[in-house]
């Protein structure tokens, strides 16, 4: 272990809190209070992940990310008080791997850090190889033949019904399924008012695969139409 995380924020208290939180999880932490500092630290020391604020003096977060991305491939999580979708899209397109809006849930942030680090350090090769019977989707990997779902490289225990549902979703990422169809294909019988049943299972799956089940990234409700597995491109 002992991966090194660089925390960049002009708010020293936030940096300190993050330092404490990360150290408790066993990470080494380097601190920077503006973009320039971050760049110089990055040049001198081996860093595995960056937590980067956007609005900072001297060099702002997005510019810094652009500079970093010229040479480095490490995961970058953007922390921003800006919550608008356009900001999020902008951040991601600049080369950030993740976007967490302030005020964030510390536990969720830690979970994200862990997830990214695992993928970056342990699974980079596997992911890059991409075997045929594996379906990758962001942090998720579904092995079709074994019918096993991996999250950040670790297998997840699913019930039979949940496995059937994930099989359907992982094979058809991005497609929207109405509750009726899901019910029919999973239970193999027409369902009456299937919405609640489907929703219960989806909630359960979310708890197992999502970092924040309240704001799911993968299994999403398409309101008024159905449900879908979000197709997520892998950055690293």
């Amino acid at each position: 272990m002992n991966e090194c995380v660089l925390v960049v924020d002009d708010d020293r208290e936030i940096v300190r809190a993050l330092e404490l939180l990360l150290e408790k999880e066993g990470y080494r932490v380097r601190k920077a209070y503006d973009g320039m500092q971050a760049l110089s630290i990055l040049a001198e020391q081996p860093i595995q992940l960056i937590l980067m604020d956007v609005m900072m003096p001297k060099l702002d977060g997005l510019s810094a990310i652009m500079k970093i991305r010229e040479r480095k491939n490490l995961p970058i999580i953007v922390l921003s008080a800006k919550t608008e979708d356009t900001d999020k899209v902008l951040g991601l397109s600049m080369g950030a791997d993740d976007y967490v809006s302030k005020p964030f849930n510390p536990q969720e942030l830690i979970a994200r850090v862990k997830s990214h680090l695992r993928r970056y350090t342990l699974l980079g090769d596997i992911h890059a190889g991409g075997e045929k019977n594996e379906i990758w989707n962001g942090r998720l990997c579904y092995r079709v033949q074994e019918r096993v779902l991996y999250v950040d490289g670790e297998p997840v225990k699913l019930t039979a019904t949940e496995t059937k549902m994930m099989d359907l979703f992982m094979r058809n990422r991005g497609r929207i399924f109405p509750a009726e169809e899901i019910y029919q294909r999973v239970w193999e019988e027409p369902g009456f008012a299937p919405e609640n049943t489907v929703m219960v299972h989806i909630r359960h799956i979310r708890e197992k695969i999502e970092l924040n089940p309240g704001e799911p990234e993968y299994l999403k409700v398409v309101w008024g139409i159905g449900y879908k597995m979000e197709k997520i491109e892998n950055h690293s």
């Binding site: 404490l20 964030f104 109405p178 309101w223």
Partner: protein, 740 residues
């Protein structure tokens, strides 16, 4: 003294000019008329009336008559006389007389005031003439001759076959019917009294001998009768007489100074004039001469006056300026009326000088006052009209139009009533005048009506434009567009509207600006809150992980955690709602099934509902209800509404949720019984409004507000109804047409 003289000179010069021109026109007119009437005889210097053509014509006619009489007294009916006698152009013994009386009448007619009387007389004459003709046919020869006898201005003797048939020479009256030698007559007459004598056929040659003042006149000239020959009597080579008539010898003698012979028989036929014909010929002749002389004198005087006026032409110019100044101050209508009435009057009465002076005034007005005319009355009326307000003006126009119509009607009625009194032929020629007058009155009325109609039409156009413009403003087109109304007051109205428009435009801009500022402010504030909040939440997390803390401290930390979480939600909500109300919230509109969305929301909130202990009665139709909306936002709407119901319902009551379709609208109704008393006047969709004013129940007060603004962002509407404790929220969406 000097100025006085100058003033006097000005007056005199113009007076001279005025008199000179008037006299010139008058005298030239009179002279011209005299010359025309007398065929140039007035030029001649003789004052002897026997030299006039009129006299010769009369004598010729008399000779003709007497010849007819002599020819055959028995055949005195002029009809046969015409056949028997030689071809004559003038066989009416009375016609000449009437010509004279006509001439007299015409003269009198020149006196304008006697015009009507003249017309009256003419009528009488015409009637009398007709009666006369009838009478003459019956009149016997004797009666006629008797009439002639009394006229001592013209003496005559008719001899037939050497017998004296008729004569009015007293001396020979006893010789009537007897053998008579005409020669004796000549010596018997006083030469100074009767200086003109005519013999016909004295030498049995069928010719006429005329002697005047004892001297014989050359009657026939070269012996051929021409239209301009002096005497129209037989004896020319081309104007002979039949053999039978040659048995007659006629003698006529005319008085040197004819007198008027009047016989009054008191009671029978009234006064009868004899011999008035020759008398009047002389009188006319002499008066023409007199008038001619006067005319010439006046002409001379006028020339003198004009010379004076010419010498003082500078002063005259001054006078003209004065007059034109006076004209310039007169209203155009008055001038026109004065001019036309004057011209008509002058032409009718042949008052040529008046005509000239009117034209002269017109000319003066044109020359001096071009471009600086006084505004006509109508202009004044229009300017005065502007003093009134718009509505008063419209009413006033209507009234004036009506008044003019009524007045025209009244005048026409009066005129027609007047016409009834003119049934007498005497006034018959006035009919046309009255009709003309009525026509003019009606035309004026139409003109007035048309004028006001035109004004009202303009006004109506303006009002139309105004209403169009108001509509434009209402539709949100706040751009200035120039319209120039014809009416001055409408212009003001338009300007007012423009003012309002500009005001609205500014207000709208300001509002947009302030909305933007609000959003910016909220964004900044929420950003500024979020940063410290991040620290708070992070350190609370750190505290939570701290071991060996007393139990009550852990409790405090839990509370801190909860509250910081709520603060986070509120900040997020405030930010979103400010964006939604200012229309800056991005939405992705898709077609979706409202029923399914509600079901999904309920499924999503399953745990919450169960935890609350309320029973939800849900009714969703089996068929899909498609609407256009942003699913994510709409989910938030129903989430908030259900949360709201769960939070504020009376313990143990049921919550009803109905999805319905009505009249092309999709409706979701959520009904619940409020746990607290609801204030009816409260608008629950306002931001931070809660049923409980104390704000201790844990709500942010933004739930309904967010629901409402998000619904509206998606194109729907949200309505809150309160019936006692029943709280109903209705979300309506227009149904998608594609699925019927």
């Amino acid at each position: 003294m000097d100025t006085k003289w100058k003033k006097l000179k000005i007056i005199l010069s113009f007076a001279a000019f005025f008199l000179g021109v008037t006299l010139l026109i008058g005298s030239v007119w009179q002279l011209g008329r005299l010359i025309a009437e007398t065929k140039g005889e007035v030029w001649r210097t003789e004052s002897d009336y026997q030299e006039s053509a009129e006299f010769r014509r009369y004598i010729s006619a008399k000779l003709e008559e007497l010849l007819s009489v002599a020819n055959d007294g028995e055949r005195w009916k002029y009809g046969s006389l015409m056949e028997k006698g030689y071809d004559t152009q003038q066989s009416w013994p009375w016609e000449g007389a009437y010509e004279v009386s006509d001439a007299i009448a015409e003269e009198t007619a020149e006196d304008a005031e006697a015009e009507a009387e003249y017309l009256f007389r003419q009528k009488i004459q015409e009637e009398e003439q007709e009666a006369d003709t009838a009478w003459a046919e019956e009149q016997s020869l004797d009666e006629y001759m008797e009439r002639m006898e009394r006229d001592k201005n013209l003496l005559y003797a008719v001899i037939w076959n050497n017998r004296l048939l008729y004569t009015n020479i007293e001396e020979f009256e006893d010789k009537l019917g007897k053998q008579f030698q005409g020669d004796v007559i000549e010596g018997s007459l006083a030469a100074d009294e009767y200086n003109f004598s005519l013999w016909f056929n004295r030498n049995r040659d069928g010719k006429v001998q005329i002697s005047k003042d004892g001297e014989k006149e050359d009657v026939y000239g070269n012996g051929v009768y021409m239209p301009d020959s002096r005497w129209f009597v037989p004896g020319y080579t081309n104007f002979s007489i039949d053999e039978e008539s040659k048995q007659a010898i006629i003698f006529m003698a005319a008085a040197k100074e004819p007198k008027l012979y009047v016989e009054e028989d008191y009671g029978k036929n009234g006064t009868v004039n004899y011999g008035d014909r020759l008398y009047s010929i002389r009188e006319n002749f002499l008066s023409s001469k007199r008038q001619f002389k006067i005319g010439c004198a006046l002409l001379a005087v006028s020339a003198l006056l004009l010379v004076i006026a010419f010498i003082w032409r500078k002063e005259k110019r001054c006078a003209e300026k004065e007059i034109s100044g006076l004209l310039g101050r007169t209203f155009l209508e008055v001038k026109l009326l004065f001019f036309f009435v004057g011209i008509l009057f002058a032409l009718k009465r042949m008052m040529l000088p008046l005509c000239f002076w009117l034209l002269y005034l017109l000319f003066l007005d044109w020359r001096e006052n071009r471009g600086k005319q006084r505004k006509p009355i109508i202009e004044g009326v229009r300017t005065r009209e502007l003093k009134y307000s718009l509505q008063k003006r419209i009413v006033r126009r209507g009234r004036l139009s009506m008044l003019s119509g009524g007045l025209a009607f009244l005048i026409c009625c009066l005129a027609l009533a007047g016409m009834r009194n003119m049934e007498n032929w005497y006034f018959q020629d006035k009919y046309i005048g009255v009709l003309l007058f009525i026509a003019v009155v009606l035309l004026l009325n139409v003109a007035v009506s048309f004028l006001y109609l035109e004004k009202n039409r303009q006004l109506a156009e303006d009002i139309g434009a105004l209403s169009d413009r108001i509509l434009e403003v209402r539709n949100g087109n706040l751009e200035d567009f120039p319209i120039l109304p014809q009416d001055a007051e409408m212009k003001e109205v338009f300007e007012n509207l423009s003012e309002i428009q500009r005001g609205m435009d500014t207000a709208l801009r300001e509002r947009m600006k302030s909305e933007q500022m609000k959003v910016d402010l909220v964004a900044n504030v929420s950003h500024d809150i979020k940063t410290p909040l991040t620290s708070i939440i992070s350190y609370i997390e750190l505290l939570k992980q701290e071991a060996d803390l007393p139990e009550h401290v852990k409790e405090f930390i839990r509370i801190l955690g909860e509250k910081s979480e709520r603060l986070r939600t509120i900040v997020q909500d405030v930010f979103e709602i400010s964006k939604a109300t200012s229309g800056q919230l991005p939405v992705t509109i898709d077609e979706l099934d409202l029923g399914k969305l509600v079901q999904q929301t309920l499924a999503d909130m399953d745990a919450q509902v169960e935890q609350s202990g309320f029973i939800m009665k849900v009714s969703i139709p089996e068929f899909p209800i498609f609407i256009q909306a942003d699913g994510q936002r709409l989910y938030r709407v129903f989430q908030n509404l259900i949360q709201n119901a769960l939070k504020y319902s009376l313990a143990g009551s049921r919550i009803y949720l109905d999805v319905e379709e009505e009249e092309g609208q999709a409706a979701v109704r959520i009904k619940n019984i409020s746990g607290r008393e609801l204030e009816r006047t409260l608008d629950f969709t306002e931001r931070f409004v809660r049923g409980d004013a104390s704000r201790t129940d844990g709500g942010s007060g933004l739930g309904l507000s967010i629901a409402k603004s998000f619904t509206e962002v998606c194109g729907g509407s949200l309505r809150v109804e309160i019936d006692a404790d029943l709280f109903t929220v209705t979300v309506m969406f227009p149904k998608n047409r594609s699925d019927g």
